[in-house]
């Protein structure tokens, strides 16, 4: 915007400052909400990391005692579960996110083709957006009685020898110590978890589908005339054109996986705060967890944004 010193605008304000005021008026709801409802609890959570906190019995506040880095020290060096849960969670993320990425891209490419009943199939694939949300996640195992039985059934099933198990072992053992064995194991694990992957892929398929639909069909036409095969079309046209979406999908999947309500660390934080009133330790766990997520997102974003191709 031009700062017009020589030509003052109406009411003596520059265009830029008028714009700024309108902008602030538009985002005012968010600012009010953030300051009134979010900032204070956030500030308290950060403060809890460095304090010993208890609930004052008589009055509706927290009692504070500054303890420095004690909580962080405790969760990182004393608590036997936290580091384990955190590693578990990150390993799970490294396992699931690539799988979700490949799966959702694959499904999106399929759903982008024209075939009979495409609408119905699309509807089914996006159903997880609804089915895998809120209280519906694990509603069957949240019940104390069913929970007990569920673990028992799982143990029984694990003991039962089955055909797929034997085939899996065959594949993995045949390769001996070669790294291909690990890869086969990874693929087999993914096949075993295909339900979890499909349930986690709803929005991602949407994002990819949106990206696919922005690709100009005449590019494919030109490529076909030049004799490109479907495989070449995919790697030379679809993949580069959709690469900005890959970044979006990876970031969304990482966040979605890390902040899901039944994640290991989130559950640890919730129990230590709600059940044991260990506010300091719970908050310290949460903050360390978030620092790690932020770092992972930063690294992933940095790497992928190097590889992303922007058409325009």
């Amino acid at each position: 915007m031009v700062k017009s010193k020589s030509k003052p605008a109406k009411r003596g304000m520059t265009m830029a400052s008028k714009n700024a005021i309108s902008g602030y008026l538009f985002i005012a709801p968010f600012i009010i909400g953030f300051i009134a409802f979010m900032a204070y609890p956030l500030y308290q959570t950060v403060r809890m990391v460095f304090s010993n906190v208890w609930l004052e019995p008589a009055y509706h506040t927290f009692g504070w005692e500054w303890t420095g880095l004690e909580n962080l020290d405790w969760i990182l060096n004393v608590d036997p579960d936290f580091r384990w849960a955190m590693t578990e969670e990150i390993m799970g993320m490294l396992f699931l996110v690539p799988a979700v990425l490949v799966f959702s891209l694959f499904v999106a490419v399929l759903l982008n083709r024209k075939f009979l009943g495409r609408g119905v199939v699309r509807a089914v694939f996006f159903l997880p957006v609804i089915l895998a949300s809120g209280v519906l996640v694990g509603i069957e195992t949240n019940n104390s009685l069913l929970n007990m039985v569920a673990t028992e059934i799982q143990e029984q099933n694990a003991l039962r020898a089955n055909v797929t198990g034997v085939i899996e072992d065959m594949f993995v053992n045949v390769s001996g110590d070669a790294p291909i064995g690990d890869f086969i194991q990874y693929v087999l694990d993914i096949i075993n978890q295909i339900y979890a992957i499909a349930m986690a892929s709803g929005i991602q398929i949407l994002i990819f589908l949106a990206g696919l639909q922005t690709i100009n069909p005449s590019i494919y036409e030109a490529a076909s005339i030049e004799g490109a095969t479907g495989w070449e079309n995919f790697w030379k046209i679809t993949f580069p054109m959709i690469s900005p979406m890959i970044l979006v999908v990876v970031v969304y999947s990482v966040i979605d996986f890390m902040v899901r309500t039944d994640g290991e660390v989130i559950e640890m934080v919730t129990t230590s705060i709600s059940s044991f009133n260990e506010f300091g330790q719970g908050s310290a766990m949460a903050m360390v967890y978030f620092a790690v997520i932020a770092a992972i997102l930063g690294i992933i974003g940095f790497i992928i944004s190097r590889l992303v191709y922007y058409y325009d």
């Binding site: 714009n19 700024a20 005021i21 309108s22 902008g23 538009f26 985002i27 709801p29 968010f30 600012i31 009010i32 909400g33 009134a36 409802f37 979010m38 204070y40 609890p41 956030l42 809890m48 509706h60 506040t61 399929l110 075939f115 199939v121 699309r122 509807a123 089914v124 694939f125 996006f126 957006v129 609804i130 089915l131 809120g134 209280v135 519906l136 509603i139 949240n142 019940n143 104390s144 009685l145 069913l146 039985v149 295909i194 339900y195 949407l206 994002i207 589908l209 949106a210 639909q213 900005p244 979406m245 979006v248 966040i255 902040v259 309500t261 989130i266 919730t270 705060i273 709600s274 978030f290």
Partner: protein, 346 residues
């Protein structure tokens, strides 16, 4: 084949004959191409069918569970299709959940809350998309922060903050005591109206992306014609954004419907479907024990058979999500096109 036969075929070539002739002309390329097309088509059909079945399987399982009678549930030879289908489970679940009044209040409250959220998010998103102001990046970082911080993490301070809501001591100053927002619809309405509700950061992000992709010329020509900023927004930008707003509203509605966190904190007393669904297992438990006591006189150590609880929860979930599934089926287009419209990119 004799020469005569070939000659006959060439005289009156059928569809297959013509096809084979064309195939010969292309040196067997045609038949390879078509065969691979048919085979990959069959492969894709099988794959898609399998994946669709995988996603629908829990729903189908819940449905078959929900229409089973007690005998069928305990009969190991009955697997998916009950011998004596019954709606008894539905009747029990509906009475335990207070179904119709729950449905009514859930629809009303969810609608109100989702509408408030979308109004607030639209305003904020437009502000971020179209205006330059100091600290803009900072405030947008705050939006992102609300997306990536799951509220469960800050539940305790949040609960205290809302239970004794006291904006920097201002409220005590005016009313003499802090305001209680928890357990109040008004409390959540306040949060929703200030874009702090469930996943509001995401809606802001999507809508901002959408507004950013709208042509700037629209507003410029409106300004040249002397249209104020608010009026430009309401009369020119909003009508074009209606499909996107509907999409966001539907997401807000559906996710609010199944949400447990904010519902428990603010709406637990209003008979909301999410609460009824998640507590149905325990409610049925005590209902069963009451029934046993009424029949036998003592309910000590009694607990309902697992198969029965499972069937009851399945039924509850099915009737609980029936309204949103219905919305989803009717308005599927808006869900599917939502992200396409926003043109999300990084």
């Amino acid at each position: 084949m004799t020469n005569v036969g070939v000659a006959k075929q060439e005289k009156k070539p059928g569809v297959i004959g013509r096809y084979l002739a064309r195939n010969r002309a292309t040196d067997n390329y045609l038949i390879k191409k078509d065969a691979s097309r048919v085979l990959s088509g069959i492969f894709i059909v099988i794959l898609l069918f399998g994946l669709c079945f995988l996603i629908l399987q829990p729903l189908l399982h819940q449905f078959s569970n929900s229409i089973m009678s007690r005998e069928d549930l305990f009969d190991p030879t009955v697997i998916a299709i009950p011998r004596t289908p019954t709606f008894a489970n539905y009747r029990t679940a509906m009475s335990l959940m207070n179904y119709w009044s729950t449905l009514f209040s859930s629809v009303l409250i969810t609608f109100l809350v989702a509408a408030l959220q979308i109004v607030a998010c639209t305003l904020v998103a437009y502000g971020f998309a179209r205006f330059e102001f100091p600290l803009k990046r900072f405030w947008f970082a705050c939006v992102i922060l609300t997306v990536i911080i799951p509220p469960q993490i800050i539940r305790a301070p949040m609960f205290l903050n809302f239970h004794f809501f006291d904006l920097f001591g201002l409220i005590t100053l005016i009313f003499g005591q802090p305001l209680q927002l928890t357990g109040q619809l008004g409390g959540y309405a306040l949060l929703s109206a200030t874009a702090m509700g469930l996943r509001n950061g995401l809606y802001i992000f999507m809508l901002r992306q959408y507004f950013r992709n709208m042509p700037k010329e629209l507003e410029e020509s409106a300004r040249v014609d002397g249209c104020g900023k608010l009026r430009t927004f309401v009369q020119i930008m909003l009508p074009d954004a209606v499909p996107m707003l509907v999409s966001c509203f539907l997401f807000a509605f559906v996710w609010q419907w199944t949400d447990g966190f904010y519902t428990n904190m603010f709406l637990s007393d209003y008979g909301i479907m999410a609460v009824e669904m998640s507590s149905l297992g325990d409610v049925f438990n005590s209902y069963y024990i009451r029934m046993v006591i009424a029949a036998v006189g003592s309910g000590h150590g009694v607990s309902p058979p697992v198969a029965l609880v499972e069937a009851m929860i399945s039924t509850g979930v099915l009737i609980g999500i029936a309204p949103i599934i219905l919305i989803y089926l009717v308005a599927q287009r808006f869900f599917v096109e939502s992200i396409g419209q926003s043109g999300i990119k990084m």
